[in-house]
């Protein structure tokens, strides 16, 4: 199990290549940072469309341009790059 604490980084593995994987990874990271269960949290879609997030970050050709996406979800600042997810301290 990967552990992600507040302000801790999480390495994205090779399986990070579909929108499913990306949304699960983001939700899991925030769930662990806030001590909640993924299925009790508000849908991620209400904060950011996982399709849009995936199309920015999971395309190999495009990720060469190193996009960074930052948004707020469940009171946490979440920053995602093609290789890493950072979850800030909950407000």
């Amino acid at each position: 199990m990967r552990s992600v604490g507040p302000d801790g980084g999480m390495d994205l593995d090779d399986s990070f290549d579909t929108e499913e994987t990306l949304s699960v990874t983001v939700v899991t990271a925030v769930a662990e940072a806030t001590g909640q269960s993924p299925l009790e949290m508000d849908p991620l879609w209400e904060s950011i469309d996982p399709d849009a997030l995936a199309s920015l970050l999971d395309d190999t050709a495009r990720s060469a341009s190193s996009p960074t996406v930052t948004f707020t979800y469940c009171g946490c600042r979440v920053t995602v790059t093609p290789d890493d997810i950072q979850v800030g301290q909950p407000n």
Partner: protein
């Protein structure tokens, strides 16, 4: 301003096609349409079983949990917002919604898993369609006979989307749209194989996709398509379609929907646009018996080469006792003996193109359809006999 007449009233088609651009979401909608209201957990198991190819009883708790998370965070809220289902966040129950998309046979067959295209190809098709301007680009291109220059395309698209005559489109507007074409619109359309863009020559050609339906390019769904092209009421026995573009589009939509038999006649040369031919080829590929009557030698050679299973026949001057030699009837499309369009050619306009209008009838009991069936019966039976006799007949 967009062309309101061509927009589906009350339905956000960008959102609809965006929702359809994902294989799991198409499967999910298919399951829901088939089985009705269900719980999120049951849906997760059904989806896991389909996607991972395991039997429902063998789906592990881990797999199911993972799909529940994706459903809850990504797919269900998105589909709910587009009006395609209702997701109850407290009870975790999912119900199908009444959305006009479910009455569109083209979308229905994709959701039923009847498409021969692979999931990635469908993803790219719907992604490309999830934008009004790209749908207009396809509509304009499907009416061309050959590749057109990008600037011509830009002018036509602007005229169409703003409902203004082409000469009112300014050079600057056309320039700006070219930039958007190049950076935003062409890549997804090319990615889906819908167009072929020759950057060197600066030309674009319509390629199409077997699952693309004509009404979608008009930002309409099938049940409302005829109403979107005409001013007469949707339940009128005989519809009236005005203008070459609308006539071509409706004719193409009839080719699209044929399952068994397609009987067509084009009396004048040069009436077979790229979008028409692609569709005729696709119909022949999916096993429809296609009979094409044309005296145009170029079209005949083309058909022999690219769609050899199409039966060619030559319209005779006394055909149906209609005065074909006067070029009154331009196009006739008769699909599955239950929908018909008869188009007539009028005066030639300044740019050498005939003015066109058409009457259409749909449904096996429709008066016009019944009349056509009676008139054409002998001819269709003759074709059927020749088919059985392993066509030695040369047309």
């Amino acid at each position: 301003m967009t062309n309101q007449r061509n927009r589906e009233p009350g339905v956000d088609l960008d959102a609809l096609f965006d929702c359809l651009s994902s294989d799991p979401r198409r499967r999910l909608l298919g399951i829901l349409q088939r089985d009705g209201a269900t719980t999120r957990a049951a849906l997760a198991t059904a989806l896991a079983s389909q996607v991972d190819g395991t039997e429902p009883a063998r789906v592990t708790a881990d797999q199911s949990e993972r799909f529940r998370v994706v459903l809850h965070h990504a797919h269900l809220p998105k589909l709910d917002a587009a009006g395609l289902l209702e997701y109850d966040l407290t009870e975790h129950v999912v119900e199908p919604a009444a959305h006009p998309a479910f009455d569109d046979p083209g979308i229905g067959s994709v959701l039923d898993g009847q498409s021969a295209a692979d999931p990635g190809s469908l993803d790219r098709l719907f992604k490309a369609l999830a934008d009004n301007r790209r749908r207009i680009v396809l509509d304009v291109l499907s009416h061309q006979y050959q590749a057109i220059h990008v600037e011509t395309l830009a002018r036509e698209v602007l005229a169409k989307s703003r409902d203004i005559p082409e000469h009112e489109v300014s050079d600057q507007q056309a320039e700006e749209l070219l930039v958007s074409f190049y950076h935003t619109d062409f890549p997804p359309l090319q990615d889906a194989g819908l167009i072929d863009y020759d950057a060197e020559g600066g030309t674009v050609t319509y390629e199409g996709h077997p699952d693309l339906r004509v009404p979608w390019m008009h930002s309409a769904l099938r049940p409302n398509f005829r109403a979107s092209l005409t001013d007469c009421p949707a339940d009128a026995e005989v519809g009236d379609i005005d203008g070459r573009e609308n006539v071509v589009s409706f004719g193409q939509s009839l080719v699209d929907r044929a399952d068994d038999e397609l009987f067509m006649m084009f009396t004048s040369t040069g009436l077979l646009e790229a979008g028409c031919f692609t569709r005729i080829e696709q119909a022949a590929d999916r096993g429809v018996d296609v009979y094409l009557g044309t005296a145009d030698t170029t079209v005949r050679e083309f058909v022999r080469e690219y769609a050899p299973s199409v039966t060619l026949w030559e319209p005779e001057t006394n055909w149906l006792d209609l005065p074909v030699e006067e070029d009154n009837v331009g196009r006739l499309v008769f699909a599955d003996r239950e929908a018909v369009m008869i188009g007539t050619l009028g005066e030639k306009t300044d740019d050498g193109v005939h003015e066109e209008e058409a009457i259409v009838g749909e449904g096996a009991d429709n008066t016009l359809v019944v009349l056509m069936r009676q008139i054409l019966r002998t001819r269709l039976e003759q074709f059927a006999r020749e088919d059985e006799a392993e066509t030695e007949v040369q047309f």
